[in-house]
């Protein structure tokens, strides 16, 4: 097996997955981006600027918090939360956006585009665009606009233009198509900030690198608190950026078990879910080869999840690779299980998690009780749930 740190290969492949499956118009642009990113990554000035913004603007490092009441409640593994929800804008998404906007600045681009599902990436992008004085256009599915009203308003306050996407089911996949169409049309001044570890190379590797700060901090913090590495890491997966950010710095540590949690929607057997690894097949979409929800004719099927941020029929190619090598275990959690865990976290820890994050919490609810008390488990608390009030109220038949 190729050394993990050596992946992806120069064509952007993680084993069979990844690549640069884009139209010719975009090819010169992503090659330019690839070159600029490689140069920036090794430039001390770039790294220093990134570290400055992570610290003073994003608020890093985020705490590694011992979730004592949940630990007591489950009566098994010792549970820690990596508090990404405390970041500026309320999720891990900004780690990546800060990195990419600094790159955009370096490349002399002044118009930013992004796709968004739950709106967290859209908000983070609108935020950094405002901070750096750049024009910002966010594509968002019409369905998602309906269920994430608060985030739409936040983006507008931040000066971004939010363009509703009506095609398909009006969710994240359609928003990404539309962002790619914008990029093909505006090739000179535009930088596309992709919000997860998907898309054509170099995005999966670049977004991973910007998010890896999560895992690096977790490692240091755990060593300080417990004098050893964690035993397991759990994170939810839409495209897979918060999971990859937590996992990647631990991939070489064989003792660390990793669990990625996909959205099981109404259950894998119903066909209404967003679990690409557990319920999909390999294919090519949005610039990379990965597992996709698709029919026998290779037509992409609509995903379903209560959580807009997980409602995507694909997954980052590096996850597809880690699935094929079995380094990471991938499971799924249903809407109902996520809602239950959401409520439990609110009441036991006084933390309202994002619905995306609630999927990871639901997985620990299954595992923690069966594990010994000295098992150290870290959950990536990828985001806060303020944005989800309407969805949750509706699901519970409540209103406010």
């Amino acid at each position: 097996m190729t050394a993990l740190s050596a992946l992806p290969d120069p064509q952007g492949f993680f084993g069979d997955f990844g690549g640069q499956f884009v139209a010719e118009t975009l090819m010169p642009l992503i090659l330019e981006l690839q070159g600029c990113y490689e140069a920036a990554k090794d430039d001390p000035a770039f790294r220093e600027e990134l570290a400055y913004f992570q610290r003073d603007y994003v608020g890093r490092p985020s705490p590694l918090y011992f979730a004592e009441r949940l630990t007591e409640h489950f009566g098994g593994a010792k549970i820690y939360f990596k508090r990404e929800e405390l970041n500026h804008t309320g999720a891990h998404k900004i780690n990546n956006c800060i990195g990419q906007i600094l790159l955009a600045k370096r490349m002399g681009k002044n118009r930013i585009i992004a796709e968004t599902g739950a709106g967290m990436h859209g908000v983070a992008t609108a935020t950094v665009a405002a901070r750096f004085g750049m024009k910002c256009v966010v594509y968002m599915g019409a369905t998602d606009i309906d269920r994430q009203q608060a985030n739409v308003f936040r983006m507008r306050l931040l000066g971004a233009e939010v363009i509703p996407v009506e095609s398909g089911m009006g969710t994240l996949k359609d928003a990404m198509n539309e962002a790619l169409r914008d990029w093909v049309t505006n090739v000179d001044d535009t930088f596309y900030i992709i919000g997860t570890v998907a898309g054509p190379h170099p995005y999966p590797a670049m977004v991973r690198d910007f998010q890896a700060v999560i895992g690096h901090e977790t490692r240091d913090q755990m060593l300080e608190k417990e004098q050893r590495l964690p035993d397991s890491l759990v994170a939810c997966i839409g495209g897979g950026s918060n999971a990859m950010g937590l996992f990647h710095p631990f991939l070489k540590d064989e003792s660390v078990h990793m669990i990625g949690v996909e959205a099981g929607g109404h259950g894998i057997s119903t066909g209404e879910h967003a679990a690409s690894l557990n319920g999909g097949e390999p294919g090519v979409l949005h610039g990379n080869r990965t597992y996709l929800l698709q029919n026998v004719d290779g037509q992409i099927q609509d995903a379903h999840s209560i959580s807009a941020g997980l409602d995507y029929p694909g997954i980052g190619p590096e996850h597809a690779y880690l699935h094929s090598t079995k380094r990471v275990e991938y499971v799924s959690i249903t809407d109902q299980e996520a809602i239950d865990a959401f409520q439990l976290c609110c009441r036991k820890e006084g933390i309202i998690p994002a619905l995306e994050t609630a999927h990871a919490l639901a997985e620990i609810a299954k595992r923690a009780p069966e594990l010994p008390e000295d098992h150290l488990m870290v959950v990536n608390l990828s985001g806060r749930g303020d944005k989800d009030m309407t969805s949750v109220a509706e699901y519970l038949g409540d209103s406010f």
Partner: protein, 282 residues
Amino acid sequence: MTAQANATDVSISRITQRFEDLKAEGRSALVTFVTAGDPDPETSQAILDGLPAAGADIIELGMPFTDPMADGPAIQKGAQRALKAGQNQRKTLEMVRRFRAHDQDTPIVLMGYYNPIYRYGVEAFLNDAAEAGIDGLIVVDLPPEHDGELCLPAAEKGLNFIRLATPTTDDARLPKVLENTSGFLYYVSVAGVTGAGSASSEAVEKAVERLKLHSRLPVAVGFGIKTPEHAAMVARSADAVVVGSALVNTVEQAESPQAAIEGVHSLTRALAQGVRTARQAR
């Protein structure tokens, strides 16, 4: 003569033959794009079957895909109509088989995205495509960086792999784009999705000149060409003029299947007229 025999026995491809014939006539080719199965299988077959008589010299047949990332609204909607009416890869190949029963000369190029081919299985797809009488492929999301996926295997089966060159393809990159391209080169005249914008006649002329410096392949120009006048303008310098969105729009606007068939064919006749008189008009 079966299509299979045609593809293997004849040393020169149907596409190359067509360009040579038109060169002798001193005119440019009209390439028409329609989506297979749009708005329904029967209507689409009738549209396809009548295109050569209406003046299409080469036919691009779109393989519908749920996520046509490089297409504008017209072709997106065409694909959606076709998928809704039950179109799939097998039916698209079957359409071409039927077409070949009465037309062995008009080249057909399938155009679309990689995933439906990948899912079909590359080997199986190429065998079935060659057998059905398909001459070439344009697969939007397979740049030369991924030639091993489909381009090279297609060439081995005698299918042309037609590549797009765009305004962002500079001289340094062009040789890479041309390396394994065969049949013709498709110049996308504006950076953008299908159906949007259009380049000036000077810009098109310049681009064609530049491409000709690098390649002996015929150069087709497309994206945003909607009217006979515009087609004529492009036909002055390009070896072929590609029209897609305007034809697909005609299908959308038609009030009945019959109107869709007549609409596409009458626009094709007008475009063909433009292309055929372009160089005389000069």
